[in-house]
């Protein structure tokens, strides 16, 4: 299946079907899923009945749920993007400071592994790698000639990755193995993000929506200023412990698939960004 069509499909459906229940969405997704050879999936992708009702009841009815295959292909797209980004950066002579090459070499190794794991999990349902444009298309970023830009994009990709995996955890709740793998990747992205942020002089964690990325990427931090968790408003509750700034740092927030795609579209050739 064509990656662009895949991403467009799920983004459009997400916008169109925000009132669908999880089960409705799953059924509506069958038309998309039938393009994949389900029988070839090596892991148990079929929902086990155990948690389905609980998950359905506890999910907000306004929340879109993608199928596990869609989630894994969505994650694979982001991992392809990160892998190509670091590979090209490391291949560009003189871009990365000598003292930082080990760090980026390790991160590349991890992203390579993540790509391999997701492809293994998806089998023949894995989408092909799209073509990336790290100049941000019309943004004309000097990504591979200016180390500061490269570092800023690295931070943006890692923080987006953390939010993207978090946003899809609920869609994998019926698949214990896949959920655990996704969580095991998710926290490694968190380690990467922390490291890159501190290399750029930022804190390892996200305060409110603050960031030092190009303005075009403010969406990466939208909603990180949330202070309400499980319906409990923590604002003003911790004056002696860093106040609301620390409250927002203590919790990372998710992004929906559509929100992530609206960021990733800037770097994927042939994928239009929402206007």
């Amino acid at each position: 299946m064509n990656i662009i069509k895949f991403l467009d499909d799920i983004s459009n459906k997400e916008l169109l079907e925000t009132k669908g229940t999880r089960r409705d969405s799953f059924n509506q997704m069958k038309s998309v899923s039938k393009n994949f050879a389900l029988a070839s999936i090596p892991f148990a992708l079929a929902a086990t009945s155990k948690k389905t009702s609980a998950a359905t009841m506890s999910m907000s009815s306004a929340m879109f749920q993608a199928s596990p295959i869609q989630v894994l292909n969505f994650a694979l797209t982001l991992e392809y993007l990160e892998r190509d980004f670091y590979e090209m950066g490391l291949d560009t002579a003189g871009l990365i400071d000598a003292q930082d090459r080990d760090v980026f070499g390790l991160i590349l190794r991890h992203e390579n592994s993540h790509v391999d794991l997701l492809k293994k999990a998806l089998g023949s349902a894995a989408i092909a790698k799209p073509t990336f444009d790290f100049t941000g298309k019309g943004l004309n970023l000097d990504t591979f000639s200016n180390y500061e830009t490269f570092l800023a994009l690295s931070q943006g990709f890692e923080d987006t990755g953390v939010r993207a995996y978090k946003g899809q955890a609920g869609a994998l709740i019926d698949n214990d193995d896949l959920l655990e793998y996704a969580l095991q990747i998710h926290s490694v992205e968190g380690r990467h993000a922390s490291q890159i942020r501190r290399m750029r002089g930022e804190k390892g964690w996200i305060t409110f929506e603050e960031n030092t990325l190009p303005a075009a990427f403010s969406a990466i931090y939208e909603g990180e200023d949330n202070t309400v968790q499980l319906g409990i408003n923590l604002s003003g509750k911790f004056p002696g412990f860093g106040g609301d700034a620390a409250v927002t740092e203590a919790f990372d927030e998710p992004l929906t698939m559509a929100e992530v795609n609206a960021i990733a579209c800037n770097f994927i050739v042939g994928m239009d960004c929402p206007s």
Partner: protein, 261 residues
């Protein structure tokens, strides 16, 4: 009276021999009457009857010796609350210690200050959340800790313990994810675990600055032969055993029935 023991005991794997396990459990429950420990336990519905739980609660909670960790999501939230209590208590000691007070590097000080803030926030948030969904007897009590083995004036020692706690926190939340039934709680665990991972990387980078130690091969694992690129996902029983092994917890944990699948 003997000093409370720190020990996690595993009596069965949670899937077989429930009747046998129940008898063993009740024997342990009997021991609680003469011991001075606070016992934490969790029972699946097949393992023990409500009457038996109530009898143990009546005997134990009143004497502050037995606490029912609960079952299902409640047990996992209580488990997270226990881990956050440990972290918060540790960093509270750190910021009152001579190493922290003597730090001259502003960024190093900020990292430890923030970790203290964040863990206190996690702890108090989980306590509030637990109290909003469960009666007081079902929420883990304030635990007592003993950090006498930590040298709070020694940078290396403080950072090493911090690293262990943060790495353990990451693997604990990762291992608890698929034990949660509720997508809302899963999301909350996800919101916290990535912050713990950010902490772990920051502490590791204080130990070996500018190296690959922030996500080192010493702490990550391989999955399906694709390479060492994944955080661990550790079961509650193994995490609690590791916590017990630190000797920091002045509370005996019995976890023979914490959810395992």
């Amino acid at each position: 009276m003997k000093k409370p023991m720190i020990n996690v005991e595993s009596f069965h794997d949670g899937r077989e021999g429930k009747m046998n396990s129940r008898r063993q459990f009740l024997k342990i429950g009997g021991l609680a009457v003469v011991g001075s420990s606070l016992f934490l336990y969790s029972c699946e519905e097949e393992g023990i009857t409500d009457e038996e739980i109530n009898a143990l609660d009546a005997k134990g909670v009143n004497n502050k010796r037995v606490f029912n960790l609960g079952k299902g999501d409640l047990a996992i939230l209580n488990y997270a609350y226990i881990l956050e209590q440990l972290e918060a208590a540790f960093y509270t000691e750190v910021v009152n210690g001579s190493y922290y007070k003597g730090i001259t590097d502003a960024k190093e000080k900020q990292i430890l200050t923030d970790l203290w803030y964040h863990e206190v926030i996690h702890r108090d948030f989980l306590k509030t959340a637990l109290n909003s969904i469960a009666s007081p007897g079902r929420v883990a009590p304030d635990l007592e800790f003993n950090f006498s083995s930590v040298k709070f004036g020694d940078r290396d020692n403080v950072l090493l313990v911090s690293q262990i706690l943060e790495d353990t926190g990451v693997s604990a939340y990762n291992g608890a994810g698929n034990l949660l039934e509720s997508a809302e709680y899963l999301l909350i665990a996800g919101k916290i675990v990535s912050v713990e991972a950010r902490h772990a990387a920051a502490i590791r980078d204080l130990i070996r600055p500018g190296t690959t130690y922030f996500a080192g091969d010493d702490v990550l694992v391989d999955l399906l032969g694709t390479g060492i690129a994944y955080d661990k996902a550790t079961s509650p029983r193994d995490v609690l055993a590791a916590v017990a092994a630190t000797g920091f917890l002045e509370t005996k944990l019995i976890t023979n029935n914490i959810p395992t699948n």
